[in-house]
């Protein structure tokens, strides 16, 4: 009975996932697609829970749904803000829409286009079926690396196996991954300057009040998630995401002091986590190997790294959401002169 209902639940989750994905990809309405995308992320988190991956579920809820959704929304807002008149065409030209339309005006063109689509769909379907049959028929009895993780868990200094893998056994991957985040921020900064909406005075007092209550709470949650990472689900990424969410909330509510944060402290904080990780890794070189934590200190060092990285990750994600460098960062000289 129990397993049957769970199976049913799984099926519902899966069907919802696929349906949502189909809808969000098919709908022409961008806003609807965003909303569907966020719900897609949440259902995804449910699926992770069902698949016994609480760490991933937390990360998905915080990052995949919690942060990516607002990212999309703010991007849409930004696009719509500049999207007036003839500029509307710029983005559509990415796919040479016009050409296709011209081709499809003729009957022969339309038929060929249709045939191409059928061919494409057929190809993909064949591929899908092929891969699925491989998954169904070719089964392997290898236990994966779980056995090794379990064997060496005690040496890793932490209790949670996922954290052990992330920060100790395969800490090098994680180091590079944090660098990916960092590069993303540098890239975003190189592209644009931050901007705030003009109507800061109109933020609802209720919103501000709620944010004032929620933000400290969220920071608390974030820290606890990071700390909890050593023995339960959680860790730097999840905690950082919650931290970022707090930041995003504050920014959306246009708290006045946020505009004034200068570039240098932000840069310091951004670099802090990666630098601590890298530095601790290198300091291990002194009497061992790169990223080889001395046995008794391993747990402490991992917690230290998680804290430092969690802070930086939070700030990184918030910066990604803001979508530009701080206003005082490398201003055009010409612009300054115009201003003065």
């Amino acid at each position: 009975m129990n397993s049957l209902s769970l199976t049913l639940f799984d099926c519902v989750v899966l069907v919802t996932l696929l349906g949502l994905a189909w809808q969000l990809l098919a709908t022409p309405d961008l806003f609807k697609a965003m909303v569907l995308f966020m719900s897609f992320g949440l259902v995804m988190a449910l699926a992770w829970v069902r698949l016994a991956a609480p760490d991933v579920a937390l990360a998905e809820a915080a990052l995949g749904a919690g942060l990516t959704g607002p990212l999309f929304l703010s991007a849409l807002h930004r696009l719509r803000g500049t999207r007036k008149g003839e500029r509307r065409q710029q983005l559509d030209s990415i796919e040479h829409r016009g050409k296709i339309e011209k081709v499809t005006q003729r009957t022969s063109g339309r038929i060929i286009y249709l045939l191409l689509r059928i061919l494409f769909a057929g190809l993909l379907l064949t591929l899908l079926v092929h891969l699925a049959t491989i998954l169904l028929h070719v089964e392997y009895e290898n236990p994966g690396l779980g056995v090794f993780v379990a064997e060496q868990q005690e040496e890793s200094g932490v209790i949670s196996p996922v954290t052990a893998v992330l920060l100790n056994f395969r800490g090098y991957d994680t180091l590079l991954e944090i660098m990916v985040l960092f590069v993303a921020v540098v890239a975003v900064w190189s592209l644009a300057t931050v901007r705030f909406s003009e109507k800061s005075g109109q933020v609802s007092p209720i919103q501000q009040g709620v944010v004032r209550i929620l933000a400290p709470l969220m920071i608390l949650v974030a820290v606890s998630l990071i700390w909890q990472g050593t023995h339960l689900a959680g860790g730097a990424f999840q905690g950082g995401a919650v931290l970022a969410a707090a930041g995003v909330l504050m920014m959306v509510s246009e708290l006045p002091w946020l505009r004034l944060i200068p570039s240098l402290p932000v840069r310091l904080m951004l670099v802090f986590g990666p630098l601590v990780f890298l530095g601790l890794g290198v300091s291990c070189l002194a009497d061992g190997r790169f990223l080889e934590y001395p046995g008794e200190l391993a747990g402490f060092l991992i917690l230290l790294i998680e804290l430092a990285c969690g802070l930086s990750i939070g700030l990184t994600l918030a910066c990604l959401f803001v979508g530009g460098r701080p206003v005082d960062d490398l201003v055009d000289r010409g612009q300054l002169e115009e201003g003065s």
Binding site: N142, L145, F169, L176, V186, A187, L275, F290, E292
Partner: protein
């Protein structure tokens, strides 16, 4: 203790540029000499590693001290070291050139602030890219390779968009999507491989790999991703606009180094790790794609009006050559084909970097790169034109360049196997390359007609010498062959060392 010291040197090519990138971002005022120092130190480290390799043979290094099935291993063997060497050399060249490039533009004072900003963001991104490349070549773990690939492509995209032109941004957006698609395909491939054997380490994989549909599916997916990332023929659509519209040092990096990363991986997977899965049919398909790429890229390069686009299309064409090496390697997956492949990669890397740098200098001076209107530029910057020509010799595969050695080895390989038809394509491609190289040289040699509007300032040494030196290295690469062979055979004869025994 020798092992500690060896391991110490092995992580440095990754750690140093990472630290450099972080510091350059943090500490902007010093970012003028900081990257230069890091690039040079990187070169020194790699040279030191070369010595270690020659003395000790291939090196393996477990990060964090964890044994292989679980931990990540760095592997340094002949091919990896050569790639590191290429990266370090070109990296040092590009770093010098970029400094000169930005200094020249900043001093022009046309758009105040703009070029300073570009430079400040260029350094951290470039150092991160360098770290990613080094990590990629050293890595012995398929998932770690995925992470380095991501780091590589995200910093490459950011660099490509740096110029701020809408065209460049559009191109880099496409580049981003293409490389994301490639990464995801690669990741899906990892899934199929991990589920078959439960290991990620390349050396262990090579030991356990056996023909089976799951493994094959994984390899195919991974290869598709890598082919997309290296702009193999039908998947090359993103490359020319992205490479041609970026800033000159960035174009050099993208064309000379970045696509080499995925190409190298592809070759390594097919002929080392998963060699037992490869069938002749698959190799022939790849070879056919290569031929198509050679011709398609070459013909399109001939049709271009802009210098940088021409050079970008020539990259498409050259990638074809690397793919032609695949079918020829099948019967003889040993020394000679690895040598041919690596020679071509090294030669093309240096030559393409030099070529884009030279093209960039011409652009700086004339404010455009329409080939018709570049006549007489030889008198203004003879060294740059000379560098361009020498790099072109490499692409044509004329002696004594590295391209010549590679082509010779490919040709003899083709005749050895009795697959002489590839040779026709190889030669025809060389002629096409000659055609498009001299299509540029011809106007450059033309006597100036009327008053040409060149920027009157003298070309700084930093803009002239790096391309010249790199192109000369590429040109004389053939003569360094004994040294390169010594590196390749440092393992006592076998080229590849793979993972831990």
């Amino acid at each position: 203790m020798p092992t500690v010291s060896a391991s110490f040197w092995m992580v440095l090519p990754v750690v140093l540029p990472l630290a450099g990138g972080l510091l350059c971002f943090l500490w902007r005022q010093r970012s003028l000499w900081l990257p230069l120092a890091f690039a040079l130190v990187n070169l020194i480290v790699v040279i030191r590693l070369t010595r270690l390799l020659l003395i000790q043979g291939p090196l393996h290094y477990q990060i964090g001290g964890w044994e292989t099935p679980l931990g990540i291993v760095l592997v340094l063997d002949g091919p990896a070291l050569l790639m590191l060497l290429l990266t370090a050399l070109c990296g040092a060249g590009v770093t010098c050139y970029a400094r000169g490039y930005f200094a020249y533009r900043i001093s022009a004072q046309k758009q105040p602030g703009r070029h300073e900003r570009q430079e400040r963001f260029f350094w951290p991104l470039w150092l991160m890219l360098l770290a990613a490349l080094n990590g990629l070549f050293l890595s012995g773990d398929i998932f770690n390779i995925y992470v380095t690939l991501e780091l590589l492509s995200i910093s490459a995209v950011a660099l490509a968009a740096l110029s701020g032109k809408p065209v460049a941004q559009l191109a880099s957006f496409r580049y981003l999507l293409a490389s994301l698609l490639g990464s995801l395909s690669y990741l899906l491939g990892i899934f199929f491989i991990y589920r078959s054997h439960g290991v990620l380490d390349l050396g262990l994989l090579r030991a356990v790999v056996e023909p089976g549909s799951s493994m094959t599916a994984g390899l195919v997916l991974m290869s598709c991703g890598l082919l997309l990332k290296s702009a193999a023929f039908p998947l090359h659509f993103w490359l020319p606009p992205a490479h041609a519209n970026a800033l000159a040092p960035v174009s050099a990096i993208l064309s000379g180094l970045v696509i080499k990363g995925s190409l190298y991986l592809l070759f390594r997977f097919w002929f080392d790790t998963f060699a037992s899965l490869i069938s002749p049919a698959a190799l022939n398909v790849i070879g056919m794609l290569g031929i198509l790429a050679v011709f398609w890229g070459g013909i399109l390069a001939l049709l271009q009006q802009r210098l940088k686009l021409l050079v970008a299309y020539s990259t498409v064409s050259q990638v074809g050559y690397f793919l032609i090496a695949f079918p020829l390697a099948y019967h003889d997956a040993t020394l000679s084909v690895w040598t041919a492949f690596l020679f071509m990669i090294l030669a093309h890397g240096c030559a393409k970097v030099a070529m884009f740098m030279a093209a960039g200098t011409m652009y700086l001076h004339s404010g455009h790169d329409r080939m018709r209107d570049l006549h007489g530029i030889r008198l203004v910057m003879p060294l740059t034109v000379f560098a361009y020509g020498m790099a072109g010799v490499n692409l044509m595969g004329l002696p004594p360049s590295g391209g010549f050695v590679g082509k010779w080895l490919l040709l003899t390989g083709a005749f050895d196997d009795g697959q002489w038809w590839w040779s026709v394509a190889i030669m025809a491609g060389g002629l096409l390359a000659a055609a498009y190289v001299f299509r540029v040289m011809s106007p450059l040699f033309q006597a100036p007609v009327g008053a040409s509007i060149f920027d009157g300032r003298p070309t700084p040494a930093l803009l002239e010498w790096p391309p010249l030196v790199l192109s000369l290295i590429a040109l004389l690469l053939g003569l360094f062959a004994p040294g390169i062979m010594a590196l390749l055979t440092a393992n006592g004869g076998a080229v590849i060392s793979g993972g831990l025994p």
